[in-house]
Symmetry: C2
């Protein structure tokens, strides 16, 4: 009945759990309740489109992690988690979207049964899938427990990837190359944007040889012209126009691992200020990659890029990258370190980032980005092999 | 600069706001802060893949709604919201994923500036995008305000659709027919599941004639065999097998409106118990549609279906449908009424549901469902035109 679909070895999962337990110990947390679907998957392998109901992983300093979710999703848990069936718990369907009952009442009962009613319990306060209501109910049901904010505690453990994870990102990168290549090749005046996105999806999900395509945590962003000055508009049925730039913010995905890659295409003759910005951006990326070395800090990458921009007289604010790897919608960033001038995270071998020094101007946007790997020595490696330039189609 | 992409007339938005204000008055709410992206869109038109950062709509009893979000997304707000630019507010990028600052500090400042520091403020406590942390910060920043749980207050106003909305769902339904048809036609032994999903995506996003395809709020669910007993597993690169059932849980989407449609395909000769279940399911759906009349209740639909199942000696628990329309990931349900035996919501003309009496058994799953419209008189109308049966491909 219970044919396992687990992705990594048990050794890999035990490594992750040991790392997380050390962080729990440092934070004085007895029991961690993990809501972030990426963190759940990272610790247990759980994978399903079920994060729209309450579910999570219970981890203490002893024994194995427990996956807890809707009764209906226990079967998916048994298939995808590395632990045996007894570590998969389910709550009944009358807790789902009820105004009288809340799933956190069921969770609290399990925590009490586990002997942790008075524990110091870590919860992910700043997470899409841990609602204000869930927190209020859990606190009310566990009056003797102390609830502590453990936001990003697991995420930080994910920052430096294992060899197995890096191999998975390399596979995702093959798909990323294919989708960006498809987008650039198919873009032309008169092409409806949704038809272009249909081709992008087809390329990404069909994948490359045995690297089947999983769904990326962010859908294809492909804005043109004025829309490209607004960072997060999605497509509609409008036709692509001559004289407009379109940026493609895309990622392949394999077993939930991502390698985002952005390129920009211009249909016609780009304005001179855009060509100047292209030069600055490419030179800045090279400087950034060179600064992205083990022992340096995230801000060193940002500063290296900004120094080049300053030389070209271009102004830019904000973040220019974030860690990537395992993820679920609505975001493929890991939400820990940032590549920005104020961030001082020390780079270690195995860390992976989307280095994304996009330029959003008043009338156009220019995105040329790389997913990168921090190496033992030397500059960072770009996961994808794709010419780093503004693609011009006359 | 600010070319509007608004979908509905201002009259339609004013209708929605008037309805919401009445509900706010009934609940004693002075100021409503709306986090649910579907509710934001329904009130203001805002549409963008930016709900992974804090954003929302502020609505009081006076003036126009205000859309508030990340500075970078203000441009998208100006393009997609029906209100003028002065009603679009942004917070600076150093609030984003910061451990020192929180966007709710910026929101609180605006609420104070609007003169509502001591107001009764409604917040959506049970929502993916209103975190436990956001609530804690907002409460701390507004010590004189009273925060009230307004979960689903706007969602309930969305239950009965306007003519314009029904027209949009009809357009989405055309795409739903196409994607389910594509899935059934392409399914065959040896077909890799991800290649099938690639074709489904392509069919859905390319759309039907001028009905361009938007991204559905739930990705294609297409589990086969044992996987089909687990409700929410997503695809991988495995090949489809002879002798297995696969169910397709799919929806077309147009301007964020959905019309979910599920069908099941069997490759080979279905087992007798599945054919018996098929008969019961189809007869039950017909009974349910006939009970889905204005003036009846949601439980009448559920009971009509269950009576047929009982006659066939089939056991089933849980919910069998939910309202649908405008939505964003991770769920296309509206999270208000349910089609279940305990729910007594009175049906009104214009209400739209995904009537989903799926049967998940020990070794197979059978999904045959309809998106339905409650009419002024007579039984409900199915939005899609698709034979209601188990599709068998020998």
């Amino acid at each position: 009945m219970s044919k396992k679909r687990t992705v990594f070895s048990n050794t890999e999962y035990h490594r992750r759990i040991a790392k997380t337990r050390r962080a729990m110990g440092d934070a004085g947390i007895d029991l961690l309740f993990v809501t972030d679907p990426s963190n759940q998957n990272w610790l247990t392998g759980y994978d399903g489109w079920s994060f729209y109901v309450h579910q999570g992983v219970i981890l203490t300093q002893d024994g194995l992690p427990i996956w807890w979710g809707r009764y209906m999703d226990m079967l998916g848990g048994r298939r995808t988690c590395w632990m045996e069936d007894e570590f998969i718990l389910g709550y009944s369907d009358d807790f789902v979207q009820s105004t009288e009952r809340h799933p956190m009442q069921d969770l609290a009962r399990h925590i009490i049964d586990l002997g942790h009613s008075g524990a110091r319990i870590g919860v992910e306060m700043e997470n899409y899938y841990y609602s204000a209501k869930a927190h209020a109910v859990l606190a009310a049901e566990l009056p003797n427990a102390t609830l502590l904010d453990a936001t990003a505690l697991v995420n930080w453990q994910r920052l430096a990837k294992s060899e197995d994870e890096i191999a998975m990102i390399r596979r995702a990168a093959k798909i990323s190359e294919k989708v960006v290549h498809t987008a650039i090749k198919r873009a032309e005046p008169g092409m409806r944007k949704n038809d272009l996105v249909a081709d992008i999806f087809h390329a990404g999900i069909s994948g490359v040889d045995d690297i089947w395509g999983d769904y990326p945590a962010i859908l294809p962003l492909t804005p043109s012209g004025l829309d490209a000055t607004a960072a997060h508009l999605t497509w509609n049925g409008d036709e692509m126009q001559a004289g407009e730039a379109t940026f493609f913010e895309l990622s392949g995905c394999h077993h939930r691992y991502h390698a985002p890659l952005c390129r920009t295409v211009f249909l016609g003759t780009p304005p001179p200020d855009m060509l100047e910005a292209e030069k600055a951006q490419i030179e800045g990326i090279e400087a950034g990659l060179n600064a992205a070395r083990a022992g340096n800090r995230t801000c060193d990458i940002a500063n290296a890029f900004m120094n080049v921009l300053t030389k070209y007289g271009i102004k830019r604010d904000g973040r220019m990258g974030y860690p990537i790897g395992l993820s679920y919608p609505p975001d493929w960033g890991e939400r820990t370190a940032s590549i920005r001038t104020e961030d001082t995270t020390v780079l270690e071998p195995g860390m992976t980032f989307h280095f994304m020094p996009a330029l959003w101007m008043d009338t156009w946007g220019l995105e040329t980005t790389e997913s990168i790997l921090i190496k033992d020595t030397g500059p960072a490696e770009a996961f994808c092999d794709m010419p780093r330039k503004l693609f011009v189609k006359p």
